[in-house]
Subunit: 414 residues, 2 copies
């Protein structure tokens, strides 16, 4: 079944409102075995809404529409829909009564103009609004369906859950499924080369979703005759990917890298300390953003000045003087110092030149050293990032977490 | 000018990715006096992309497209665009060279298949990619323009700022202007009540843009016959707002709170230290994200465990035992300790219960204490936030920066 979603609202096209509604609707459809095929945003003007309605009603079997059902002058969806379906608006006292009741319950007078929300198209069915005043509008004609809902998120969600999704269950494709696989440590092109021809995965489809913060996410999806069959082919594809790029996969369930790290460290009873210069708290903040991180995260040092590296981590000022604050030796001394002074089992340290200034020809902007220290072992890595200040800092944080995760993999049986 | 935006990507229609790109593009167009008229999302399949391209190229003068420019098999925008324009792809060594250079700079081999990104449509112009490999594609034909950009946000944003927006300036409506006014310390309803009837600002329009991180942003905008007239009415509106809510405005130029703080502290030669427990690095990271922050930011302590509060900040264990780690006394001792041990002029400290667990009836989730310490003065503030873990942490960071900014205002003549 072809499903189309039309979001109505000037605020969406002006960019003053981020359209979380459409994303939520899309994910709820997906979770129910349905797929959104087209999505458009149009402004609060009759001509654009009508054009899009005409197109959607021609090509889709199900049309969802959000926005413009309220009582103010800029809410034009109700009359526009009525004209589009060559229908008539009729005041319905049965729809006005719950609206009156809402105002009564709050001890408020009914503002003039509210009645317009109970003027309803004759041939349509009202969608009850559990969280607000304006009812939704459901047309079921020519073996097609249209559902118009308010743009207020809680009202729209209530209608989707209680009315729209149940009405769509007849179209449900039980045989579609997907999984999200999280990787880190290699870029998109590298992973693609390691995986080889994606046709080898058929009937499973493979998609790459890169991001700065969280490495490359892969999505495998499949359609088959039954849920079991979908799961079977997805299991096979997962096995295949494990063989090809298993060393770079940290999650088959969509978990964040910091969550996976915390789970492993908690299980092994390990404590973590972090020393950050250029990343300045990004790593600590990502870890502490996870509930329960206090079991593992011991402390963090944001040693931005040279003096603080010496005071807090015991970095020898002579190393800073000879090698520079951005150097492998300093990264190593920071990691060792953070571990020893905190009593943690593992420590990570980052020092680098985030930019935009501060670079030289020997030490250009984007140069970052990451040190890792545990009881048996120390290591330092050099990275050359090529982005702006923000990107370099976020990539450095991701690289550090990746190194920690790799180290935890190495010491799996330690 | 009619501008249309096509976002390409199955992940958008599946709902696995929230489309922040389209929102960002819309707001940047608006800020530049341009308006997005239509926006659609289509999946990674040639037929749907072509249909939408046909429609957009017919009705709009400017078509923006995001997504599907990468090197993997599911990136089909480049060949689909080429076929749509009845053009041919040609390998361009001048486009391959910067891609090779990117890999060389990182010391990586060039994975097979990367060359595809340098196969470029003959009649199109490449849009340089400052943050990634794949160049964007610019067609300028039939007095219309199409700009295709990658879906990776940082790459798309770089192309918009450096190439697309400058190319669109010829369509700019010079008689539109807006200003962004940043406030902190009061909520949206409070500010609205203080401002009064927004019609008093006519012909200037006032919009409220609340956000978790950065307080309430106000946008005033106006359309008039000339740039001077726009500026004159916006100046008037600014004056009006200064009178009504001046105490909560920290910037009339859209600057971030952390930038304003750094500017003031740098000017006065003051150094800052930060001690964070529940915020875990958010405050330090926000400050260090600003270039040149090293002049002011001395060091940060992420004292998540009780032991680290004592070791690093000298908090008396007896206070932690009697008052609890989340208490005004501990916040104060953390701030005092951070200042004294770092030698900074001002220190801030945050301790709280971010949630979801760890709350009690006396100390519920969302309780946060913030301490501030300078040479003359110490203060502690108690906050009760009501959001989830992420929201509580971000609001606490904002509240701390706000207190620091207020303190700097108080000591203006000190």
């Amino acid at each position: 079944v072809n499903i189309e979603l039309i979001a109505v609202g000037d605020e969406l096209l002006l960019g003053t409102t981020l359209d979380r509604n459409s994303n939520w609707i899309a994910s709820r459809l997906t979770e129910n075995g349905l797929r959104l095929r087209w999505h458009e945003t149009v402004g609060d003007n009759e001509s654009d809404i009508r054009h899009q309605l005409r197109r959607a009603w021609n090509r889709a079997e199900v049309v969802l529409l959000t926005g413009g059902l309220g009582p103010t002058h800029d809410d034009i969806t109700r009359p526009v829909l009525t004209r589009f379906f060559e229908d008539d608006l009729l005041f319905r006292d049965d729809l006005m009564e719950p609206i009156r009741e809402r105002f009564r319950a709050r001890g408020l007078d009914i503002p003039p103009g509210t009645e317009v929300m109970a003027e309803f198209p004759v041939r349509a069915h009202p969608i009850p609004n559990l969280h607000g005043s304006a009812p939704g509008i459901h047309y079921h004609e020519d073996q097609k369906q249209l559902f118009a809902m308010p743009g207020v998120p809680v009202e729209m969600r209530g209608m989707m859950e209680s009315y729209v999704l149940p009405s769509l269950m007849e179209y449900r494709q039980d045989h579609y499924g997907f999984r999200t696989i999280k990787t880190t440590g290699r870029g998109e092109s590298h992973l693609a080369a390691l995986i080889g021809d994606p046709l080898l995965l058929k009937p499973v489809e493979l998609a790459f979703l890169p991001s700065i913060d969280y490495g490359v996410t892969l999505r495998i999806s499949a359609t088959a005759d039954s849920k079991q069959q979908v799961n079977a082919v997805l299991d096979q594809a997962e096995e295949f990917l494990k063989q090809r790029i298993g060393g770079f996969i940290y999650s088959f369930s969509g978990k964040l890298l910091e969550t996976v790290i915390l789970d492993v460290m908690r299980q092994r009873g390990l404590k973590l300390a972090v020393a950050e210069s250029c990343t300045g708290g990004i790593i600590s903040s990502r870890i502490i953003s996870i509930p329960g991180s206090s079991d593992v995260f011991e402390r963090g040092f944001i040693t931005y000045s040279d003096g603080s590296k010496t005071d807090l981590l015991g970095v020898d000022p002579a190393i800073i003087a000879t090698q520079g604050a951005v150097s492998g030796d300093v990264a190593q001394a920071m990691a060792d110092g953070a571990r020893q002074r905190s009593g943690a089992d593992i420590a990570m340290a980052v020092t680098g030149i985030a930019g935009p200034s501060g670079g030289t020809s020997e030490k250009p902007v984007g140069l970052v050293y990451i040190g890792l220290s545990d009881r048996e072992h120390s290591e330092t890595h050099r990275f050359q990032f090529t982005g702006d200040r923000d990107t370099n800092r976020r990539r450095a944080a991701q690289a550090a977490l990746n190194l920690l995760w790799m180290r935890l993999q190495e010491t799996r049986n330690g």
